[in-house]
């Protein structure tokens, strides 16, 4: 990812503290952002209503590759939350971005 110039950014409703614990536990160094009220998740139409632990709104899994002009170049909206995008797919898509 780094070699391909891809900056991975993870977004969920988890608080910064929860995400920090996750990152420390897993050794993640990429940016993790908190959207506790699902505002950005709603703006991207990715709300999975009532699917959270306490019946709250969470994000459905989704991946977007965005070029430097802010244009979406690749999207993955899985129909099955067990099936996620694989790094190879992202790198393949990233190749087309100069």
């Amino acid at each position: 990812m780094k070699e391909a110039g891809v900056r991975p950014v993870a977004i969920s409703i988890d608080s910064p503290e929860e995400s920090r614990n996750l990152a420390q536990g897993q050794g993640y160094t990429f940016t993790i952002l908190s959207d506790p009220n699902a505002e950005v998740i709603r703006r991207y139409d990715l709300v999975h209503a009532g699917a959270g632990e306490k019946g709250n709104d969470i994000a459905r899994p989704a991946e977007f590759l965005i070029d430097l002009s802010g244009t979406v170049r690749w999207v993955n909206l899985t129909e099955n939350y067990m099936v996620r995008a694989r790094p190879e797919q992202v790198l393949e898509a990233a190749k087309s971005i100069k």
Binding site: K2, A4, G5, V6, R7, P8, V9, A10, I11, S12, I13, D14, P16, E18, S19, R20, L22, A23, T31, I32, L33, S34, D35, E39, V40, R43, Y44, D45, L46, V47, H48, A49, A51, G52, I58, A59, R60, P61, A62, E63, F64, L65, I66, D67, L68, G70, T71, V72, R73, W74, V75, T78, E79, N80, Y81, M82, V83, R86, A94, K98
Partner: protein
């Protein structure tokens, strides 16, 4: 005929059922070939069902030492096993697809909506910052936004 024979197909069927369910979470979910479609687990369940059916026939046979107890135990074990298999299949093939259609999500060629959110250090970060700030001295060529369910 030995009337005290153990109903092994029933018990092996039960073990395979539990093994088939738990091995997905413990093993197969980490293997690319069995991750997205749990065919290995379905195969284990298939063998379990064959054994369970054999176990039911055995448990309901007339030569059991205690026919009533045998029938009750056999029924409970078989019902439990079938329930576990049904729950697994329901979770994997039905519940996992309960996702919103997200028709309004940004599509290829569209501008990604700008946002500003807190990172793990409490800093407010915007999409335009992510697109322009260098990573270890070199400018990024793209940003990969990964939305996930959270609670990990």
């Amino acid at each position: 005929m030995n009337v005290r024979r153990l109903n092994w197909p029933l018990w092996v069927g039960l073990l395979l059922t539990l093994g088939g369910a738990f091995s997905f979470l413990l093993i197969f979910v980490w293997i690319p070939a069995t991750r997205d479609f749990p065919w290995a687990n379905l195969l284990i369940f298939l063998i379990a069902v064959v054994l369970l059916v054999a176990g039911i026939r055995r448990g309901f046979a007339s030569d059991r030492k205690r026919p009533t107890a045998s029938k009750i135990v056999t029924s409970l074990v078989a019902l439990f096993s079938f329930a576990v298999i049904a729950l697994f299949i329901f979770s994997v093939f039905v519940v996992a697809r309960w996702l919103p259609p997200s028709k309004g999500a940004p599509q290829v060629g569209e501008k990604a909506p700008e946002f500003k959110l807190q990172d793990t250090t409490g800093r407010q970060v915007s999409l335009s910052q992510l697109l322009s700030e260098p990573i270890n001295g070199t400018a990024p060529r793209s940003v990969l936004l990964v939305f996930y369910r959270g609670y990990w």
